[in-house]
Amino acid sequence: MTVLDNQNTINYQSGYLIYNKDHIFKGKILSKNPFQIAEICFNTSMTGYQEILTDPSYKFQFINFTFPIIGIVGCNEKDYESWKIHASGMICNEIPYLSSNWRSEINFADWIIDQNSCAFFDIDTRSLTKIVRDLGPKNIMICNDQYFKENGIDNLLKQISDSPTLEQNDVIKDFTDELSISKFNESSEKLSIGFLNFGAKENIKQNLIDRNCNLFEFDMNFKAQEIIEKNLDGIFLSNGPGDPKNVYKNIKEELDKTLKMKIPTFGICLGHQILSLAFNAETMRMDKGHRGGNHPVKNLKNNTVEITSQNHGFVVSDKNFPEDLEITHTSLFDGTVDGMKAKNQPLFSVQYHPESSPGPHDSRYLFDEFINLINANAS
């Protein structure tokens, strides 16, 4: 961390990252709170930390950035993917104090504090990545020196093991409670899309809006009736935090009713998992998850490769994969299902993030395909 005597240094404290009793890291912490518990994951993206931290899918997660310096280009109004940081905090090797980029409006460290978030740094993040890779994701604690000393390691370990897991946490509910739905505004000349927001990234909306769509936003508690009444041109299911099964059981009935209408439908990430579940596919926990901006995906239609932005810890299983669905994309890293389409209705979804932000734009064509699907259905 930059500590230049001629600048007002920022007030970090020394602190600890507790993975388990064998793996405790001493580092520096930047946070208003004495401690913080969440599940750890790692992300290999080399750019776009602001977009990542503000992606609602990261609720109740600490993100360990494998890239060693985070914060160089600061933060700005334009690069939010939602209204705030949703991740529980971030971990990295080094944080420069001042930002350097013409788009920057606030220094990264200041932003973390303003957002009442938490940054833990000055540790060997590469070996932490290895630990997560080998021993898997789990709840960990990041706390400051004082809290560590006051409670002692045994209590802290207990505190961690007593804490609810990501699955037990109703992250989707928390998100939905905070979410403020934007007002509908009818518009005849645009395509009307029912936008089911389970933790959507701004750029997904942007990509649809750029394609002349008018979004009617709903949260998890939507009613099929409302959607059907509007006789919308298309339906979109967004990405979001947590275990897809939790979300699905909340919305099962309403969703099934909606899907029966065979309105053109597109899903991304959590949306993809939910749709798969709706067709009786199975979803499961991944050992370490996919998080980064370099993931190669094979498009089985035309045999080409897309470099994609990914962020998921759950995945649709290809074991006894439903008859009515067809796998359209697979991960070239581990062969997992990365995309599917329905055989008997205009519906498709992908596990990765075609809106990217951050990440490569290779897959933006999927939004066009959604529009084509709608137009084809109309005619």
């Binding site: 290999t44 890239f67 788009r103």
Partner: protein
């Protein structure tokens, strides 16, 4: 899952890049040899052409047929006729290879020839290379290039000056090293500056471009396959903004100061450009300028081939661009190829890195007196190093430890230390090669970063990081002997080396080691794995970093329980030490592997094959500094055993630390350190020489400059001066008078002051000979070759051409040389290789020096003769003995001639004289091989870039001593009806001999004079030898103009004579080509 590669081709011609010159160095040996390997693994036959015998790729095993012939259109045609390849791969040999394709294409060669061109089509090459076509292409896909027009005499500059926007940058065509270039800030300056630029251009044309000086510069390395799958392998940010050539810039990977929005924009544009230009498969490099104030993006250029930066990108990421590009060229797609490093993921992904890579260029300005020490848009650096660290600070410090500069870390050289702040500010504005150190000094003097940013345009992020280092530097000086573990750990985390800390604190380095021992803080090794540790990596490509709390995962070195050999590389290329030593290291590695050792390579030069992760069993990409080497050996010794360190193959660099290695009890294999010391210690060497019964030129030495004058006056002039312990005859100069000595002192005071200066009597008109000899543990020896130099002693062995077998030495001399060489290696107890240089004057043999290590010439011998001398040397070092066959090998028995010629880069350094002397100036070498001596020489000249195809008009002006001899050859030329042009002296002399020549004026005598003749290309060849200072001054413009206009010139009598003979025999023989494998087999 692998589709079979293209079946319609079976034989592929790979074109290399030829001699090492500025802008085209051994990165193309790296890419070329990777390509050859990959293609042969796929079962293709590979035919290779490359004129450079120092390369790894020209080793006979790398291709089915290896043509070490000039890379020239007609020669290439001959090879194609002979070998009938199905396809050419031109994207591995840099500009040279692309140009061959363009030239053949202009001849419509491909219309009636079915041969396929892999990678990039002639058309796409043209679009990429031609600035205007390129700009149009960019416009068509909606991308911006800088405003740019080509201005020649036809323009009305006054009028133009009203129409353009300022500032502008001028880039005159074909002026060397960017001379005449510069910035036009306003309308007032426009006319004069542009006119000047036009005048300076040989073709009277200049680019007038929107000046982007100070903009950020980025490079993207893109790889594309036949299905249009494109990936960005690496992004590179130039720390030195636009205005300094990327090859001369300090560069950082990955790009650090871009937001994702900007990065993706550049990514999209890069891919769009490849599609537009039509690079079907392979790697390309795209260069961007980005306005730091508003993010505006302009395209500078794209190279439709692998490049210097793709080599850097490969090393920076672990993604082997050239190898993959070669496989894509023969039809694979990215997802069909595996990621070499992880072995579990495909090549169709974008590498992520979790460290910071820094490249720093190496300059040799000191060798080109008279040329301004300023960087511009034309490349000037002769080599580079790369460093890897977990932070920028660690990375840049390691880079400074790797560069082998004159001073340590961020220290400033003496003469700059007492700059006034004001002049320091002035210097910052200039694009000096040492700008980074000036920045550091400015920070030391508390000059505000904002101001430094305004003066240098270096991004604030980098400036702040450097400030952190400098602040801590101060801190350490303050702390001094009171250094405690907390501060030490902070320093180590910042990236300071123990040596550096010891220097700053003025304490013993042992204290630092003992402090560290008490802590849990350690130097550990991380892997370059292309994936940020997302997957396990089975490849031991390692770099060091410092961890303040080590855990079981911190260190990924994982030493195996095996017998290990550590091979030290040769660091950055520089004049005097280059690719030839990398060839030696790589050969040695292979040899030790075959003998069952685990090989551990340590080197920091990203251009090389030795730093390819699949060359050695383990690669440590680290500075070749004792401390870093020690740490590696200690780590490797924690499991298994390091049997020894090899210092013999990396040139002078490993020898520098041999001493410390020995002192600290590390085993040096092969020749003992003592022998190395004898060869470098004047007195000890003297004794040895006497013992062997050899002569040495009369000599003396002087401690510092005080006694230099007196000591010099005691010897017979001319004399040679040089500081001891230098390579490539650095600062070695011939003195004709005492005045010369005085001005030598004045010029080099700082370098000489605390140094021993060696004084030798100069042997006039002596033949020079290089000998390479191998010796085993039992004292058996093998003479690898006796090379007779073309130029006489006095011209550095690295700069003069040399020939095997000798062409004018008497049998007796050869016999005696062998005898002396053998007894020398016996006395020194060398094990492995030794190189000896002799001068022969009137049948008398003098020794000039002996180097108990691999030499610049041994790779040449290996290629010319076809015996793997390095491999053998490695075996001897490991304890094997020479076979009787090897002992009895007689290098004179060759049935053909192989001539090694030096290649120079004077064209990049305006205003420096091209006369050669005892200080080495060449950057590269070529080989000419043929049954006829004359043709072999001719080939070497053509390969070196001389245009000798239709010589008609020859200018001759020689010093008096040479007139008698040259007259014989003038006669020959006259008889073969060449037109001779001479100036007064030579004219009269030749007239007396009845040789008719055309008299023309010396420059001093006024127009029409010789230089004008040359400029109006009425002269095809210049033969010009000169002696004393005045004559040299007067004839300077003759030589310089020849270089500038690329007209063949010869400044040495012996080479001129041989050239003349060759030209004449060319009249009645035509050049034929022959693969070295065929030469060797009979």
């Amino acid at each position: 899952m692998r589709m079979p590669a293209r079946k319609d081709i079976s034989k592929i011609l790979v074109i290399g890049s030829g001699p090492i010159v500025i802008g085209q160095a051994c990165e193309f040996d790296y890419s070329g040899s990777q390509a050859c390997k990959a293609l042969r693994n796929e079962g293709y036959q590979v035919v290779l052409i490359n004129s450079n015998p120092a390369t790894i790729m020209t080793d006979p095993e790398f291709a089915d047929k290896t043509y070490i012939e000039p890379i020239e259109k007609e020669i290439v045609k001959k090879i194609i006729d002979k070998e009938k390849p199905d396809a050419i791969l031109p994207t591995m040999g840099g500009q040279t290879a692309l140009n061959i394709i363009r030239e053949l294409n202009r001849d419509n060669y491909f219309l009636d020839n079915p041969i396929k061109i892999l990678g990039a089509s002639p058309k796409s090459i043209d679009v990429a290379e031609d600035r205007e076509l390129f700009a149009d292409a960019m416009r068509e896909i909606g991308l911006e290039t800088p405003f740019s027009i080509i201005v020649d005499d036809s323009y009305d500059l006054e009028k133009l000056s009203n129409e353009v926007e300022y500032p502008l940058i001028l880039r005159p065509f074909y002026t060397l090293g960017g001379t005449g270039g510069g910035i036009v800030y306003n309308q007032e300056e426009f006319v004069s500056k542009v006119q000047n630029a036009v005048d300076l251009s040989p073709v009277s044309k200049t680019l007038v471009e929107e000046s982007l000086i100070g903009w950020k510069e980025f490079e993207f390395e893109v790889v594309r396959d036949r299905l249009d799958n494109s990936i960005i392998v690496c992004s590179i940010e130039n720390l030195d903004p636009m205005g300094v050539h990327t090859g001369d810039s300090i560069t950082i990977a990955p790009a650090l100061t871009l937001t994702d929005k900007e990065f993706q924009n550049l990514r999209n544009q890069s891919i769009a450009i490849l599609r537009k230009i039509g690079v079907e498969t392979g790697g390309s490099n795209v260069q961007f300028a980005v306005n730091p104030k508003n993010g505006r993006i302009l395209i500078i250029e794209m190279n439709p081939r692998v490049s210097r930066s793709s080599a850097l990108a490969s090393k920076a990421t672990g993604f082997p661009i050239a190898k993959i590009a070669a496989l894509l060229a023969i039809g694979y797609t990215l997802d069909e190829l595996e990621n070499d490093i992880t072995k579990v993921t495909p090549a169709s992904f974008e590498p992520v890195i979790d460290y910071i890579v820094t490249k720093i260029p190496k300059f040799n300005f000191e060798k080109f007196q008279g040329s301004p020490k300023i960087l511009n848009t034309a490349m000037k650096s002769v080599g580079e190093i790369m460093s890897i660290g977990r932070t920028f600070k660690e990375s840049i410090l390691k880079a400074l430890y790797s560069i082998e500069g004159d001073n340590y870390g961020f220290d400033l050289s003496h003469e700059l230390l007492n700059l006034k702040d004001e002049s320091l500010r002035e210097e910052l504005k200039k694009q000096r090669p040492d700008r980074l150190l000036l920045v550091a000094e400015s920070i030391r003097r508390n000059i505000d970063l904002k101001e430094i940013n305004v003066l240098t345009h270096i991004d604030n992020f980098f400036l702040r990081e450097i400030k952190e280092i400098i602040e801590f530097e101060k801190n350490l000086v303050k702390v001094g002997v009171n250094l405690d573990i907390e501060i030490l750990i902070e320093a180590k985390k910042l990236g300071f080396s123990n040596t550096h800390i010891a220097n700053l604190c003025k304490i013993n380095i042992e204290q630092i080691y003992s402090l560290l021992k008490k802590s849990n803080s350690n130097t550990v090794y991380k892997r370059v794995d292309t994936c940020g540790n997302e997957f396990e990596s089975s490849t031991a490509y390692l770099y060091s970093t410092f961890i303040h709390e080590e855990n079981q995962y911190s260190c990924e070195s994982r030493p195996d329980n095996r017998d290990k050999i550590v091979i030290l590389g040769s660091g950055p290329n520089r004049i005097g030490q280059g690719i030839e030593f990398d060839y030696c290291c790589v050969q040695a590695v292979k040899s030790f592997q075959n003998m069952g050792f685990q090989t551990i390579m340590i080197n920091c030069n990203p251009e090389t094959v030795s730093t390819d992760y699949d060359t050695s069993d383990k690669l440590y990409f680290e500075p070749l500094d004792f401390e870093f080497v020690k740490n590696i050996i200690d780590k490797e010794n924690t499991n298994g055993e390091v049997k020894g360190v090899i210092v013999q193959f990396g040139g002078q660099t490993p020898l520098r630390i041999a001493n410390k290695l020995k002192e600290n009890g590390y085993k040096i294999l092969g020749t003992s350190f003592d022998a190395i010391d004898i060869s470098e210690d004047r007195e000890r060497f003297q004794k040895l020489i006497d013992k062997v019964g050899l002569k040495q030129p009369k000599s003396d030495f002087s401690l510092g400059t005080k006694e230099l004058i007196i000591k010099s006056s005691k010897l017979n002039f001319p004399i040679l001066l040089r500081p001891s312990y230098v390579l490539g005859g650095r600062m070695m100069e011939k003195m004709n008078t005492l005045d010369d000595v005085q001005s030598y002192i004045d010029q080099n005071y700082w370098a000489l002051e605390n140094n021993v200066i060696l004084i030798d009597e100069f042997l006039k008109d002596a033949k020079e000979v290089d000998v390479d000899i191998l010796r085993d543990n039992d004292g058996n020896t093998m003479i690898a070759g006796i090379m007779e130099h073309i130029e006489e002693a006095g011209i550095h062995s690295g700069d003069s051409a040399c020939c095997i077998p000798p062409f004018s030495l008497s049998d007796n001399v050869i016999k005696t040389i062998k005898k002396f060489s053998i007894s020398l290696s016996q006395e020194l107890n060398t094990i492995g290789l030794m190189n000896i240089q002799y001068a022969i004057k009137d049948e008398e043999i003098y020794i000039l020096e002996a180097n108990p290590r691999a030499s610049r010439t041994i790779p040449f011998l290996a290629k010319a003769i076809g015996i793997p001398f390095i491999k053998i040397a490695a075996e001897l070092i490991a304890g094997k003995l020479l076979t009787s066959e090897q002992i009895n090998f007689n290098p004179e028995s060759l049935s053909y001639f192989a001539i090694k010629e030096a290649v120079f880069v004077f064209n990049k350094f305006p205003n420096t004289d091209v006369i050669l002397g005892p200080e080495m100036k060449s950057t590269g070498e070529v080989m000419g091989i043929d049954d006829s001596f004359d043709i072999a020489y001719l080939k070497s000249q053509i390969a070196a870039g001389q245009k000798l195809d239709n010589i008609k008009n020859i200018f001759i002006s020689v010093k008096d001593d040479d007139k008698e001899e040259i007259s014989v050859f003038a006669k020959l030329l006259e008889d073969n009806d060449f037109n001779l042009y001479t100036t007064r002296g030579t004219f009269d002399f030749l007239s007396k001999k009845g040789i008719k020549t055309n008299l023309i004026n010396k420059v001093a005598e006024g127009s029409p004079h010789v230089v004008e003749y040359i400029k109006d290309d009425k002269i095809d060849l210049v033969i010009n030898t000169t002696e004393n200072k005045q004559a040299i001054k007067d004839s300077f413009t003759i030589r310089r103009t020849s270089v500038d206009l690329n007209i063949p010139y010869y400044t040495n009598l012996r080479s001129s004579k041989i050239l003349v003979k060759s030209l004449i025999s060319l009249k009645n023989n035509e050049i034929s080509v022959k693969a070295i494998q065929n030469h060797h087999n009979n």
